[in-house]
Symmetry: C2
Subunit: 422 residues, 2 copies
Amino acid sequence: MAPVFSFRVLQTDGEARHGEMTTAHGVVPTPAFMPVGTRGAVKGVTSRDLLDAGADIILANTYHLWLRPGDQLIARLGGLHRFMGWDRPILTDSGGFQAFSLGARRVITEDGIRFRSHLDGSEHLLTPEGATDIQAGLGPDIAMVLDECLAQPATADAVRASTERSARWARRCRDRFQAIADAAPSEKGARPLFAEIKGPGPFSGGRQAPLIHAAATDPGTLVTVTNPGQAQFGIIQGGTVPDLRAMSVDRTLAIGFEAYAIGGLSVGEPPDTMYSVVEHTAPLLPAGRPRYLMGVGTPLDIVEAVSRGIDLFDCVMPTRNARNGQVFTSEGRLTIKNAQYADDARPLDPACTCYTCRTYSRAYLRHLFVAGEITASVLNTVHNLRFYLDTMARVRQAIVFGTLETLRRSLRATFSRPLSDS
Amino acid sequence: MAPVFSFRVLQTDGEARHGEMTTAHGVVPTPAFMPVGTRGAVKGVTSRDLLDAGADIILANTYHLWLRPGDQLIARLGGLHRFMGWDRPILTDSGGFQAFSLGARRVITEDGIRFRSHLDGSEHLLTPEGATDIQAGLGPDIAMVLDECLAQPATADAVRASTERSARWARRCRDRFQAIADAAPSEKGARPLFAEIKGPGPFSGGRQAPLIHAAATDPGTLVTVTNPGQAQFGIIQGGTVPDLRAMSVDRTLAIGFEAYAIGGLSVGEPPDTMYSVVEHTAPLLPAGRPRYLMGVGTPLDIVEAVSRGIDLFDCVMPTRNARNGQVFTSEGRLTIKNAQYADDARPLDPACTCYTCRTYSRAYLRHLFVAGEITASVLNTVHNLRFYLDTMARVRQAIVFGTLETLRRSLRATFSRPLSDS
């Protein structure tokens, strides 16, 4: 079965686009922000909270789920959607970034990334084919190719060599993805791997009954497929060198993916450098496919990138900052543990209608944070996610009304100033 | 304004009673279980989760809230209900038990309990009058008297002396409670302490506008009252000595409270000893008032106590065990981290309809627990609370239908066996 993935642009405002991205688990209005569910849970909240916050799509991390509890375990249980209790779209990264940044004694060869698990020291090899197979088993609606994450700082030659390797790996990922798709039995012939996964639970309809495919490139290997409608995105690398970005675009477009991401940014470079790379790279990508800027960013970063033609974002910032007590509001950021909030009866954000803001005062939230209560993380996360997702809704609305520049200036004014309480 | 507190028994089954306890914040069907919100939050969940689990009344800890964030801060913000975002009934303990068990260098005299805070080492004196004043400021619907918690083991003489002191302290608590009530301005003359607490939030209706009362017993002291409808419960002490329990009942009834609790149990004695003390003591208490067994217990303990005439319970067990990965189910307890659940697609409890059981598998919950995800605590707590509160609903129903003995035997069979996975 071919991916059901599609995208159409409904409205533009300068380079910014408002569109609809259709996946095997539903439609995502873009520009969209993906909350990060590293280990199969967005930290501190439940699927119900995510729906309540307005999440249309979430991201999960292949590296973490592969090592624990294991992609095959998740596949046996029907795939990531059922495992996580989330029946809307999911995107998974390829696992490469975490293998680079968390794995010990990592060695990168043309074959792939060899490393030792941060959990138990066991040795693993992550290849382009392996990353594709693992994601076939996890069953997100969007899988990412394995690319090489270059250690910074890097020489121009090193960036070029890495970009070329990433392109070769992308080719291998696509070949594997196609081989798995080509080997798929007809829908009629699909056979469930484990009958018991059709048990209780909201996702037992069988739409994603796992299949066993023999991957054509490696006849001896059985690949589990839990989402036959999966799409695969390529990733543009090339550091901050315009020519290499352009070369990466050429090489990646020549392979052909359902859509394209810009990787290798938000790794410590100044914001203006990132904006510049995005501004140079986004127009080289097909207008009819969504563009995903990986790992970005602050609310301001997001609007700056949208105004340069980006459609999809993910970042741990709203959830991680929430657990650390930093809250995003329409008036800027605030640090809830500060003494000035001890007696403050106002909600975190008077303009917000999330459960936290409807129910609790800053004084209460400060108390919970200072006391180390788990509920502090829950309530701050509920709010920060709503703030991010509300911001995306305002971005989409601004594109429809042709007022994105006004929104961009407003967010710049709000988030360029120092913390409201610093 | 006199307490609005009342109680009526609707049905009995042997010694067990099903009734309705009316408080300033609504009616509680009894027998009832109170989830414990130590520091103003039931650990890991929100008020919304508590409503969803079926909680009618919760307990908060005076000691913790007094030391941090402070009873006066909570009073300025309108009282504990508004602070916690919970507009149903609340009961607070007196703080004595925690001052004994958490405070450092504690010295008990006739005056009260002198101790150093476990937070910052600061010295505090908790007197019967102080415990009453603090609870007046916090504004629960039910306040408890300060009693002396006796270190175990204790001689019969020590138990007697302690029981007598508790009775004298109960007298002082009641005197203070009455003085505060007598000093209350008329409803018409009630004046809000802080105008700004009438800001946003669901509890701004002004029903609990804070008042300043001059307490008659100590004309120099202003006591803040945030819940004029507050009731006060006495506590029966006397250890495991029947005569001392009877003496304590006599002394406490002679003072007269809205209702009575049995204290000094669930402190390490064998279950049969506890049941025996309850069986001896409960019938000595007025049939027309609710009876509260403090700090109890397991589902089986609760049903055993109900069948001996108890109406109210609190215990950290469902919430604490949830965070430690121990889950209560209709088939007994299970320890979610055990390897046998790694691949288990079933919900925690096939008979449960809580959000956790409707949405997630044991395999997923095991994964989250092993990975140390906060969401594991949230989801296990949601389930354990529902299990306890569903059990109370079944207890009430069994009393109505005269089948409590059948339920008691069933729970004994379920919870007397070893852990299902041990």
